[in-house]
């Protein structure tokens, strides 16, 4: 467990920098985490982030495929928006827990 100041707020985060409390999230926090990941957030980014937050609240298993079928972007586009590990990065920026792939 760690503390981190983001957008002027003192927040609890995991060792890997994921927010502990999904409710503390706001768009400024998202922008700041994104900047640390080298990403400037635009409209499309926020649409994906809101989609992820919504699905997370519904208790859905989040997958890259699901984002690809969201109608916001396709999988290739998702990789372009969040290069590297798109689901991991986008989850971190969206203030939701690190995705666990259950196998």
């Amino acid at each position: 467990m760690a503390q981190k100041t983001l957008a002027g707020k003192n927040l609890e985060v995991t060792d890997e920098g994921y927010l502990q409390d999904f409710n503390q999230w706001n768009e400024d926090i998202a922008r700041e985490i994104a900047r640390e990941e080298g990403i400037e957030l635009g409209d499309e980014h926020f649409q994906v982030l809101n989609f992820l937050r919504e699905k997370y609240q519904e208790g859905a298993n989040l997958t890259i495929r699901k984002v690809g079928k969201s109608g916001i972007t396709d999988i290739k586009g998702f990789y372009k928006l969040f290069p590297g590990g798109p689901l991991k990065k986008a989850s971190k920026i969206a203030g939701i827990p690190k995705p666990t792939s259950c196998v």
Partner: protein, 410 residues
């Protein structure tokens, strides 16, 4: 007469038919089970076929050998479930009414989800799966005369059934080509969408070390977009390319298309299921057993077996209008073949990752958790006998269905 309908006579459906017929009176309850296939496949055995350890006849038996008298068996494709009318439509038009429905239609490969896989020129010539009997047999034929080159083992998407199978495949390939005297001509690469060999940290480390020891290269975080048959490369969404001479792939796994036709599944046709009670989230009189569900644990025969206890108890409670008390803990137990007559074993549930120790008896074993031993390999060999003779028949097994911490070291 009240009616229970079971969809799918694979591992889970067969277990349930046996368990339920024993306790429910034949005057009051009619039990019907439906499957498109008359053959029962011992799927864990597919892994051994490419290496000539098992052949086709070792892994197939008639389904009728395992279904008890007093159960109506229908060999027919299932078209769809109409949950609001509490009925199932079979292909050809037959309609089955039910009071309770158990869906155990498993998961299958969908290679058509990946461009260039099934529709390319190399499918079953230089690209194989070992998740179907035909794929495993075709790969056996290929390996017989292969003189070496780049063998790529790839997992297309998560989740997939038996998550350790592609690792075991890689270990067995290492041993097989070593014994054939051509290991130095075979380059084995394990390409996975996971961030390491496996998801759970301790097991991932142990299995990752084994891969390294056996000189198998791991490419993590690779999410397959397409297969290029001309260039003979697999390509990821972020445009990495990995060349192959032979590709062994676990294609995208999806639930049965009947789930999609019934509009009851998620984007991979897995059915939203309460992970504790195993009841469908949307329909009270439907239980979902095994690979067909979306519960967050391995899709594996051992899980189906442990979960069948819970479905059994909760279904009986539902019939008597009592609360559903049995809770599934996600218990999974996998033997892992590591080659050269050795094996490892992992035991875990929703909350506890695989830990080292002994199993099932604390301090005694005989199996070593997260260890590489001869005894663990015998466990896997024995499993086939147990599967045919004890597990499918729904008999008691000498292992608790709830995971225990006894014998584990955290």
């Amino acid at each position: 007469m009240k009616k229970i309908v079971i969809l799918g006579a694979g591992t889970g459906g067969t277990i349930m038919a046996n368990k339920l017929r024993k306790v429910l009176s034949r005057d009051q309850w009619e039990i019907t089970i439906v499957d498109k296939d008359k053959t029962h496949y011992y799927q864990p055995g597919f892994l051994f076929i490419p290496f000539g350890i098992y052949n086709k006849n070792d892994v197939i038996k008639p389904k009728s050998d395992f279904l008890p008298p007093g159960v109506q068996v229908i060999y027919n494709g299932i078209d769809k479930i109409e949950p609001n009318n509490t009925q199932v439509l079979l292909e050809g038009g037959q309609v089955l009414q039910y009071d309770y429905l158990i869906v155990a239609t498993g998961t299958d490969i969908s290679p058509e989800e990946t461009p260039g896989l099934k529709d390319g020129s190399l499918w079953r010539k230089e690209i194989f799966d070992f998740y179907t009997l035909d794929g495993a047999v075709a790969l056996r034929e290929f390996f017989r005369d292969w003189e070496g080159g780049r063998l790529v083992v790839n997992i297309a998407e998560l989740p997939f059934k038996c998550p350790v199978a592609p690792l075991e495949f890689s270990f067995l390939a290492d041993a097989y080509f070593t014994e054939a005297g051509i290991r130095e001509k075979v380059d084995i690469t394990f390409v996975t969408p996971l961030s390491g060999a496996f998801t759970k940290p301790k097991a991932s480390r142990m299995l990752g070390d084994l891969l390294e020891e056996k000189n198998i290269r791991v490419v993590p975080d690779f999410y397959l977009e397409s297969v290029d048959n001309e260039k003979k490369v697999i390509r990821s969404y972020d445009e990495q390319e990995i060349p192959f001479d032979v590709l062994t792939i676990v294609p995208v796994n999806t639930g049965s298309s009947l789930v999609e036709r019934s509009d009851m599944g998620d984007d991979l046709n897995f059915i939203p299921t309460d992970k504790y009670t195993l009841q469908s989230k949307n329909h009270e009189n439907i239980f979902v057993l095994g690979d067909a569900s979306d519960i967050p644990t391995s899709k594996a025969g051992s899980v189906v077996h442990f979960a069948s206890e819970v479905v059994y108890e909760n279904l009986l409670s539902a019939i008597e209008n009592r609360p559903l008390k049995a809770q599934f803990d996600g218990h999974s137990n996998c033997y892992i073949e590591t080659g050269y007559g050795n094996g490892s074993i992992i035991d875990f549930n929703y909350d506890t990752e695989p830990l080292p120790g002994t199993f099932p008896l604390p301090g005694v074993g005989p199996f070593g958790l997260l260890q590489n031993t001869k005894m663990n390999h015998y466990g896997k060999v024995l499993f086939r006998w147990i599967y045919w003779h004890i597990l499918l028949k729904g008999k008691e097994m000498p292992i608790e269905s709830q995971m225990t911490m006894a014998g584990k070291k955290s």
